[in-house]
């Protein structure tokens, strides 16, 4: 064995002996007993995501804007830090793909806003930062966000008869308190 490794080996052996000896000494001074078992239950973070003001997008014409309000509610839960994140909305063809539906899907703009209010077809607040977690929500809290959908003013006539589905994704999270 190289001479320079011998001190390290001696130190390791000494540490191991110290730990073993300490454990043995501890055992001579311990006494075992039992505590009454308690119940252990997993936490919950129930929440709902719904339209509080339904978004009606039937019969849209070029340049038109329609609004609705999505509501995120923390309905139950115990421990943890409860937050939610609004993701990027999507527009997808509804049912069988047609030329009109495919064209329509590219002509709709969906914008969630920070506020849950609107006047006419204008949402209050400012466009929401998508993908960013909200502040921690207390039990029983309800938060609303206005969502505006606009058909492009220059949408061509080829979108007539198209049908698409607009989706606003929301992720609920219960984060560790550590």
């Amino acid at each position: 064995m190289p001479s320079r490794l011998r001190p390290a080996l001696v130190a390791c052996v000494a540490v191991v002996l110290l730990l073993v000896g300490s454990t043995t000494a501890y055992a001579a001074w311990s006494r075992a007993t039992t505590a009454a078992a308690g119940s252990v239950a997993g936490g919950t973070f129930a929440g709902t995501v719904t339209w509080s003001t339904p978004l009606n997008l039937a019969g849209m014409y070029p340049g038109e804007t329609r609004v609705g309000v999505v509501q995120v509610a923390r309905t139950a839960g115990t421990n943890g830090r409860w937050v939610y994140t609004v993701g990027t909305p999507t527009v997808a063809v509804s049912g069988a793909a047609t030329t009109a539906s495919t064209a329509l899907a590219t002509r709709l703009t969906v914008t969630p806003y920070t506020a849950g209010t609107f006047s006419g077809t204008t949402c209050g607040g400012t466009p929401l930062t998508l993908g960013a977690a909200s502040a921690v929500q207390a039990l029983g809290s309800v938060v609303q966000h206005c969502v505006a959908v606009q058909l492009a003013a220059n949408a061509p006539g080829t979108v007539q008869g198209g049908a698409v589905v607009v989706t606003v994704p929301v992720t609920l999270e219960n984060r560790s308190t550590n």
């Binding site: 339209w51 061509p156 007539q160 589905v165 989706t167």
Partner: protein, 179 residues
């Protein structure tokens, strides 16, 4: 130290170096397992939700046209017309709408009836509009809408109605609306 001693010393340190590398590798694997486990536990506490809405476009087709004979028993020595009329589509305020009326015979030439395009929601159709053809014609209407934002859409053809010029006296033709 002689060169022989140095070479011996080098060979002796190689096993120790390998041991250190192995220990480092084991620690790395343990650390990776701990991190993966933590990540998995974190994923169990998220829930993906969404709200949806179905979108569709405005229907700018005119209503199915109707045909009314102007003078069913015409014998006044002139060609009698029929009135073709239709309901306008519901469009947003500020839009302009014009109509084009098309007549397709069971055989022969398709015709665009004049005046077309027009903003009127009805028109008189004379035998001359059919080129004095006595063949039955299928009549439809399309709308062209200019929206407030400037977009221009042309609708699909409306439902249809039949019209036909029928010879009354030797020289005269009267429009009829066959079922």
């Amino acid at each position: 130290m002689s060169s022989l001693d140095e070479r011996a010393d080098g060979r002796a340190t190689a096993p120790a170096g390998r041991a250190v590398r192995r220990a480092t590798g084991v620690l790395g694997v343990l650390l990776a397992l701990v991190m993966v486990g933590s990540g998995t536990a974190w994923a169990w506490w998220t829930d993906a939700r969404s709200v949806n809405a179905t979108a569709g476009t405005i229907d700018i087709r005119p209503g199915t046209p109707t045909c009314v004979t102007t003078d069913p028993d015409a014998s006044d020595g002139s060609n009698s017309p029929a009135t073709i009329s239709w309901a306008p589509p519901v469009v947003p305020a500020g839009s302009t709408v014009t109509y084009t009326v098309t007549a397709v015979p069971d055989t022969g030439t398709t015709r665009t009836l004049t005046p077309s395009p027009s903003t009127a929601t009805s028109m008189l159709v004379y035998p001359s509009n059919f080129g004095d053809s006595t063949r039955p014609h299928t009549v439809t209407v399309t709308a062209t809408v200019t929206f407030p934002g400037g977009a221009v859409w042309t609708s699909p053809a409306s439902g249809s109605v039949k019209a036909q010029a029928v010879r009354a006296l030797i020289f005269w033709l009267n429009m009829r609306c066959p079922a």
